[in-house]
């Protein structure tokens, strides 16, 4: 693959380093000192001086031939522009953007960025898994489908405690996949009973997650 990376900061540099053995990689970077550093480490063919978001630079970089455009800068607006322009103007088949502000994740996906990586969200996910209970924890995003696999711990007061799966009112787009009771995972049947402290694994569309959390963990109103 021919991969163009915007930004030769730590993320961009290490990414290029990892990919260069198996792919053609070009990193675009604005800071001349950083360009010199990467040229010394990875060779001069791998790095180019310029503003990645500038169309003239993209042209010189051969964006029309790129299979993948990856934006790794520390500024979401630059990452968004890089991905949007490469897709809209150069038909790059796949774009990946680093997201610094987790709030932008949904928007970027909505705007057609194929994959987004938010370090903050990833770390938050890890932290939340460590906490005693917190409601709904996203475990994994199914890219391209706008869906996530989520983990939900059923609190004692939840209205769902003592109910059978067939009695649960789940939102559209959510599917209950696994019920783990006292450490034992089970495939749920309509008759499966939900107990307090059960851990449920579900697949849900990103929009329906809040409704799902609510349906499974809220106390009776």
């Amino acid at each position: 693959m021919f991969i163009i990376v915007a930004g030769a900061g730590k993320v961009g540099y290490h990414l290029a380093r990892a990919l260069v053995a198996d792919h053609e990689v070009l990193v675009i970077e604005q800071d001349p000192d950083r360009v010199d550093f990467v040229a010394a480490e990875l060779g001069t063919d791998v790095i180019m001086l310029g503003d990645a978001c500038d169309a003239a630079t993209m042209e010189l970089a051969g964006m029309e031939r790129a299979d993948l455009a990856v934006a790794t800068t520390g500024d979401d607006e630059d990452n968004l522009t890089f991905c949007q322009v490469s897709k809209a103007r150069y038909d790059v088949p796949r774009t990946v953007a680093r997201i610094n502000n987790p709030q932008n994740e949904t928007l970027f996906k909505q705007l057609g960025i194929d994959s987004t990586v938010s370090a903050t969200n990833l770390i938050l996910g890890h932290i939340e898994q460590e906490l005693p209970w917190r409601g709904l924890i996203p475990l994994m995003t199914l890219t391209g489908l706008d869906m996530e696999i989520v983990e939900i711990r059923v609190p004692r007061e939840a209205v769902t405690v003592g109910k059978q799966v067939k009695q649960l009112l789940l939102p559209q787009g959510a599917l209950l996949c696994l019920v783990i009771s006292e450490g034992t995972p089970r495939l749920p049947t309509p008759e499966t009973m939900i107990h307090a402290d059960d851990i449920l694994l579900a697949v849900a569309s990103i929009e329906s997650e809040e409704a799902l959390r609510s349906a499974l963990t809220e106390p009776p109103s």
Binding site: M48, L60, G62
Partner: protein, 156 residues
């Protein structure tokens, strides 16, 4: 500075007895003069003169892209260089290269050939009113491990 490249070592008594000379050519008068100049210097130590023409491949194309027009032009340029050498009663060998950046390719070639001298012909051009050393010779000057001679053409 540590010399990590093995080169033909010119002896201290014969500092101009270069054994392996590299002359990049681009078809300009200046580069052909550089070939003749290099042949004359090489004669002293019976050195070999290698001529190289680099086709810069823009990134929109793969590095190994088939560039027939450029390759044809490149061959013509190498032929002109060979003729220039013959005017000095000397033989040269020519190489056509495809690279992203000519400066880097020339230096890499110099290293590969164990060159102890690079001779670059520089036309006297004033793009913005003043003479400026262009990108490729500047790059070679900055990064070549061996001696470099710039042959700048006379001002008009």
């Amino acid at each position: 500075m540590i010399n990590v490249f093995s080169r033909h070592e010119k002896s201290k008594e014969e500092p101009l007895a270069f054994k392996s000379l590299l002359v990049p050519v681009d078809g300009s008068e200046a580069s052909l003069m550089a070939v003749e100049f290099a042949c004359n210097i090489a004669r002293r130590g019976r050195g070999k003169v290698h001529v190289v023409h680099v086709i810069e491949v823009r990134r929109a194309l793969r590095l190994d892209a088939d560039l027939t027009d450029e390759a044809q032009r490149g061959e013509e340029i190498l032929t002109q260089a060979e003729m220039a050498a013959r005017r000095q009663d000397y033989e040269v060998d020519g190489e056509l290269l495809q690279a992203r950046d000519a400066g880097h390719a020339i230096v890499d070639e110099a290293i590969e050939r164990n060159a102890d001298l690079i001779v670059i012909g520089v036309p006297y051009r004033r793009p913005f009113g003043e003479f400026e050393l262009s990108r490729v010779p500047t790059q070679v000057m900055k990064t070549a491990p061996c001696e470099v001679v710039l042959l700048r053409m006379p001002a008009e």
